[in-house]
């Protein structure tokens, strides 16, 4: 492995002046990429959605041009000294492996072991060799113990680790992970990242990890590459790369909070990237100084109770009890985060609030209307629900039709529908797309459109199911800012389900934590993130909160980088 030095050995991957244009398009997606990667390096590749990261991955593994044939490819990609154009794809698969975002799409057999064997079997390797590779791959990816389990019974993290094992069994020298944790809950994401770093160390493979969440992955990286519009903007060792942190922020990419704090504080030659480094960085400067106590936000005056749940139970027809006696009151104008791991009952509870599910025991009332007895057509006049995947909720042929669909179903007159549509277009910045087909928009735009389709129904309560999952930071912030504006300016009560604790810390007034169908916490973000017990629920406070705790104690937990910098300034720094 070569770190910070000049290597004389042959690089495992070399890209020279690579340009690429997809078939039937005029836009260059890659514009003169040059890249040299040594054996055993760990590269983190980042950039906003659509910047060309995934296309670059497809050219490295040879999918472009072997399968997508008609595009225009200029320049050269060499893996282990071999031009990817000169070898058939099945030989390249043994040199470069790719793990995709959604584990569902890359599992081909019905049990773990058979899936892992899929690649070596296709290559017609001798059976003993297949067996050796499969066993080793399953052990390295941590799925050996569950090798006989059927795929459908696995959790998201286990599925993704099975997919990783499937690639390991091909024994490639480079593995590309294309946002492997985006579709997973924190627990799954944690286990997958652990496996990735473990594999890289143990097998000495080269890892290219495409990721938005730099907080979690920067510590593994030998180099961080920031891409923008088909070009490489930054390619450097992380401590150095974050010296140009503004470039990350401007591109909608979220650098580690610890790095952001140090950079904004007045960057050093070496920006810290891990918590320990952050503590070290700031400790010297604040050592011995007592922080002023944090002025906690004034408690927001609560309006009338608009969502009321009393001893709510829900058992699905298959016998699974998803909710076990939840009590809850949400008042008008609150912005509430609903958190908990997958299967904790978040979706069940929130779907009850819009009448999609009925409690099997207990009462849920929306503006005083019992969801068991009030028809759903009535409930949706109060509550809007935005599902996680925009593609499940866009049905019509133009953006305008999509937006007027809801209010028309509610029987609103056309003039009013027109007014609401225009307003929603404006709020979500979709004015220029009014005549476009919803499916022709980018994913971020589709996500905003999905929110807009609900806004035109003018709900008093807006429920957002994982609004930021699978989106880059820029898009996430954009969406959450819209939610906050609706909340602050129009008094819309917002309930959002999320796994992203940074979003919780920065946007929620109140947090509700569900665990195995029970409510285990209901309070402010500061309260939950300053508690020790949350670790037992696999919840990790944002890194900036952890940093403030390490420096100033739990009673001084901050929620954002800005808040942290504020404290530091008031502490009066030792120079």
């Amino acid at each position: 492995m070569v770190k910070g030095g000049v290597s004389v050995s042959r690089p495992v991957l070399e890209i020279e002046d690579l340009w690429y244009k997809y078939p039937y398009t005029d836009k260059w997606v890659l514009k003169g990429i040059n890249l040299r990667v040594e054996k055993g390096e760990f590269i983190v590749l980042t950039g906003r959605s659509g910047c060309g990261k995934s296309t670059l991955a497809l050219t490295i593994c040879g999918y472009i041009p072997h399968v997508i044939e008609k595009g225009v490819l200029k320049g050269r990609v060499t893996v282990d000294g071999v031009d990817t154009r000169s070898k058939p794809l099945h030989q390249l698969t043994q040199m470069v492996g790719v793990v995709l975002q959604n584990p569902e799409d890359q599992l081909f057999a019905l049990t773990v072991e058979q899936d892992v064997a899929f690649g070596p079997e296709n290559l017609a390797m001798p059976k003993d060799e297949v067996r050796r590779r499969v066993d080793q791959a399953m052990k390295d990816a941590g799925v050996y113990e569950i090798r006989d389990r059927p795929i459908f019974s696995l959790s998201g993290g286990q599925k993704q680790r099975t997919a990783i094992a499937g690639i390991l069994a091909m024994e490639p020298s480079i593995i590309i992970f294309d946002e492997p944790t985006s579709d997973l809950d924190p627990q799954g994401a944690y286990s997958v990242l652990n496996v990735i770093s473990d594999i890289q160390r143990r097998r000495d493979v080269t890892v290219i990890l495409i990721e938005h969440r730099l907080d979690e992955v920067s510590k593994y990286a030998d180099r961080i590459i920031l891409m923008e519009d088909g070009e490489i903007l930054i390619d450097d060792e992380p401590h150095k790369a974050y010296r140009e942190l503004d470039k990350f922020l401007d591109r909608g990419v979220r650098p580690p909070q610890v790095s952001e704090a140090a950079y904004k504080y007045g960057g050093d030659t070496r920006i810290p990237i891990t918590l320990d480094e952050g503590v070290e960085f700031f400790q010297d400067r604040v050592n011995g100084l007592k922080p002023p106590s944090i002025e906690t936000e004034e408690s927001i005056t609560r309006g009338d109770v608009v969502i009321e749940a009393r001893d709510v139970w829900h058992t699905y027809p298959n016998g699974v009890t998803a909710l076990k006696g939840v009590d809850l009151e949400i008042s008008e104008g609150e912005m509430v985060a609903l958190i908990g791991k997958n299967g904790s009952g978040k979706s069940t509870l929130s779907q009850m609030m819009v009448g999609l599910l009925k409690p099997t025991r207990g009462i849920v009332k929306i503006y005083g209307h019992d969801v068991r007895t009030t028809p759903m057509e009535e409930i949706i006049r109060y509550v809007g629900y935005v599902f996680q995947n925009p593609d499940h909720q866009l049905f019509t042929n133009t953006v305008l039709d999509e937006l007027s669909f809801g209010p028309r179903n509610l029987g609103i007159d056309e003039d009013e529908v027109g007014r609401r549509v225009e307003e929603a277009l404006k709020i979500l910045g979709l004015e220029e797309f009014r005549e476009r087909h919803p499916q022709s928009l980018s994913r971020g735009q589709r996500r905003r459109l999905a929110v807009a389709t609900i806004l035109t129904m003018e709900p008093k309560i807006l429920i957002l199911d994982e609004p930021t999952t699978g989106q880059d930071w820029g898009h996430s912030v954009k969406l959450m800012e819209i939610a906050r504006r609706l909340n602050r300016e129009r008094g819309v009560t917002i309930l959002f389900i999320t796994h992203d604790m940074r979003i919780v810390a920065e946007y929620a007034d109140r947090v509700i934590l569900l665990h195995e169908g029970e409510k285990v916490f209901d309070g402010s973000p500061r309260e939950i993130f300053s508690s020790r017990w949350i670790y037992q629920y696999n919840i990790l406070p944002p890194y900036i909160s952890q940093l403030s705790q390490r420096l100033f104690g739990e009673e001084n937990t901050v929620l954002s980088v800005e808040e942290f910098l504020n404290i530091i300034q008031r502490v009066g720094v030792r120079e």
Partner: protein
Amino acid sequence: MAIDTFIDIAKFIFDFTIFFVIGPGIIILLIYRLLLRGALRRFFLYEDNNSFFHRLDPRVKIFWTFTVTLLASILDDLLTLLALFIWVVIMWGTAKPNRDKLATVTVLLLPIPLNSIFYQGIRYGYDWWSQTFIYDVTPIYEMHPALDYILGGHILTIEGMYYGAFQSLRILVAAGSGLLLATSTAPNALLLGLTNFIKRRSFRIGVPYVISFAVVIGIRLIPTMFEDANIIINAAKVRGLSIKVPRSRNPSELLKALRNAIKVFRHMTVPLILSSLRRGSNISIAADLRAFRAKPNRTYLIESRLSVVDWIYLLITIAVFIFGWYLAYIGFAATPGIIL
């Protein structure tokens, strides 16, 4: 006269209700209840069960199912058919099905003999045009003649019912053995068995791998498709698309509901097709990147070997197969029209 007409109408209503409404209604209700309980969905979910039949090699099971089904269709002797049926029932017994499974298989199979006994009961040997029987039959119940136009017969005969029972045995043997095979064999084992039905080194007889691959992907994706469809319906509901069946009998309400149902269906198809296409494209990328179809002869990590029990059971099945075939050949019990 008036009384006769009254009795006539009453009889028509009675017969119509019993044979046309209540009878089929009960069966539909039973199936509906199963569906409601999710038992039907669970029925096809493979459950690991360490029973004799579960442990048999899938290929032996496939051959057994083939044998009993084939013999049931070429043999035409009540006792032989009964023997085959009992064999199937015994094998069901060895598979130790739970109560849920047993109830489901009964409800699924029961309509076969009922239907067959009833319809053969009124139609066996009955010439509809002349409204006479061409065989000697023993009527046991005469329905209202007007039902002739609906049912194609109206006189239940013992001979017809016997014939119906007899015929239904064939279908029961085929369906019973098929369902047993499907529910007591892990899908992957079944597919592997079909793909490598006979395999010795690089020699292989079986379904092409590409087909069994497609089937596996299908099996894997069907639940996901249902989930997608469910979310899409919910997304339509929260935007005010009502898909409830109206309680009112008002025709305009019903028409509205029907229009709505069509609307829901139309709106559902686009996102469902699009998400399937996106998924399909991702799957094909992932498969190509794992060397799918790279070599004409792929390796199979798991190749089951027949155990002693498998061999014994296989030999018994082969013996029965040959014996049955021989019986049909010498004309002892061949179904008329079967050419051997």
